[in-house]
Symmetry: C2
Subunit: 224 residues, 2 copies
DNA sequence: CCCAAACTGTGTCCATGGGAATCAGTTATT
DNA sequence: AATAACTGATTCCCATGGACACAGTTTGGG
């Protein structure tokens, strides 16, 4: 993945035939495939076919598949929001919930953003928005970064878990099926799950969010 | 991925030639490749070549690549630990640090465990160990599960981030390079990073861990 | 004791993946 | 009008995961 591709403006050349496609259109076609059938179904061939063109045409618009996925992620995450809540805690809550919502809407973004990779402008914009709301707190720069990183990670984690739970009947991921057979080896898990059948990923997200912000608040007040 | 493969005991048949390989040996070869060159370098061909056999031999031991990765993850995560710390908070800290260490030792496990998939016995064992230490807290089953899920997710998140920071010179991921050029668009990020150049992933991990446990402790004491 | 059943690793084959190189056609500039 | 620059399409290559049939090896039942 080249950083320049995500950040540098691509100047449209003047000569030659008009391009039949656009980078945005290609990315949207990829997003449609990923939303419907998962990230694994996104191949150059598939995206090109959906657009009615050949696979190699796409390489006129992007250097390779890694860049396609990067652009897809940028568009799926979308422009950073304007936070309406007032107060740092309410703002961070709003920010976390919005980000969580984006992840839920496009669950494949999570697996697309594991490992080392350059961040896009939108992704950085999200960080910037959150940092602006905790600027004046008695936290160091590293602590401010860590705070929003942990919040974002929490949202990713839970969105992934929530997206995996499709069949509803199954309690959590595929744990339940195994526990029916080997439950006696995991009494704690069995007990915890028995009282947890109700409630979905949103509840787990809110629980962790509240715990995290409580922790941050405790630190902040201890320094005031 | 078949759940039976991870959980069902594979009975060694009596007839025919002695198998030249073992499932464990194959998995270890895969782990060696993944540790050295990343998960992407792990292919049936590569693992078989390293073992001195042909690709198709491996399919006598496992149904497919998904199962190979699953066994690799199980062995890399390893047996659940016995926690020596006393008290629920110290125990959760120890547990989180141990898990974080496993992730750091084999960073590829993180990308290998995104999305829906069955958990292995070891992975469930880790959960069981942690749950046993918070059994008597005034928390519901769902809350206990959420607590350790958030802790585990935090460790995963930070291990991934720490593993990406190899060059040391670069501050955080690949953010710094971009900020040198577009820094004016992200004043908050620039400011936060300026004071955060020191300290690595361990520090961020400890920060989030402390915040999370503070939040849990606040909830627990509020109910006592 | 022997032979067939059951199992082993190997070689061949196929579909799909990402990507390079090349080519004929199209368009704005000179 | 000629040319440089660009377009999409065609053909090719290599690596991947996996199906399948094959020949060799071990062991249990007659």
């Amino acid at each position: 993945m080249s950083v320049e591709f995500l950040w540098g403006g691509r100047a449209r050349p003047t000569r030659g035939p008009k391009p039949a496609l656009t980078l945005e259109g290609i990315a949207d076609a990829g997003i449609a495939v990923a939303d419907a059938e998962g990230l694994a179904a996104v191949s150059m061939q598939r995206v090109a076919t959906d657009l009615g063109y050949t696979k190699m045409s796409l390489y006129r618009y992007l250097p390779g598949k890694a860049e396609l996925v990067a652009v897809m992620v940028e568009r799926a995450v979308g422009e950073p929001p304007e936070l309406s809540a007032s107060g740092w805690r309410a703002a961070l809550e709003e920010w976390s919930r919005l980000l969580f919502g984006r992840y839920l809407a496009h669950p494949w973004t999570i697996e697309a953003t594991v490992g080392r990779r350059p961040l896009g402008p939108y992704e950085m914009g999200w960080m910037e928005v959150a940092l602006a709301r905790i600027e004046t707190l008695p936290l160091s720069g590293a602590e401010r970064l860590d705070t929003i990183a942990v919040l974002a990670g929490h949202g990713r984690m839970l969105a992934q878990q929530a997206a995996a739970r499709l069949g509803e009947a199954e309690m959590s991921t595929a744990i339940a099926a195994v526990l029916r057979e080997h439950g006696e080896r995991f009494p704690q898990l069995t007990a915890a799950l028995a009282g947890a059948a109700r409630g979905g990923g949103d509840q787990a997200f809110e629980y962790g969010l509240a715990r995290l912000l409580d922790g941050v608040e405790a630190l902040v007040t201890s320094r005031s």
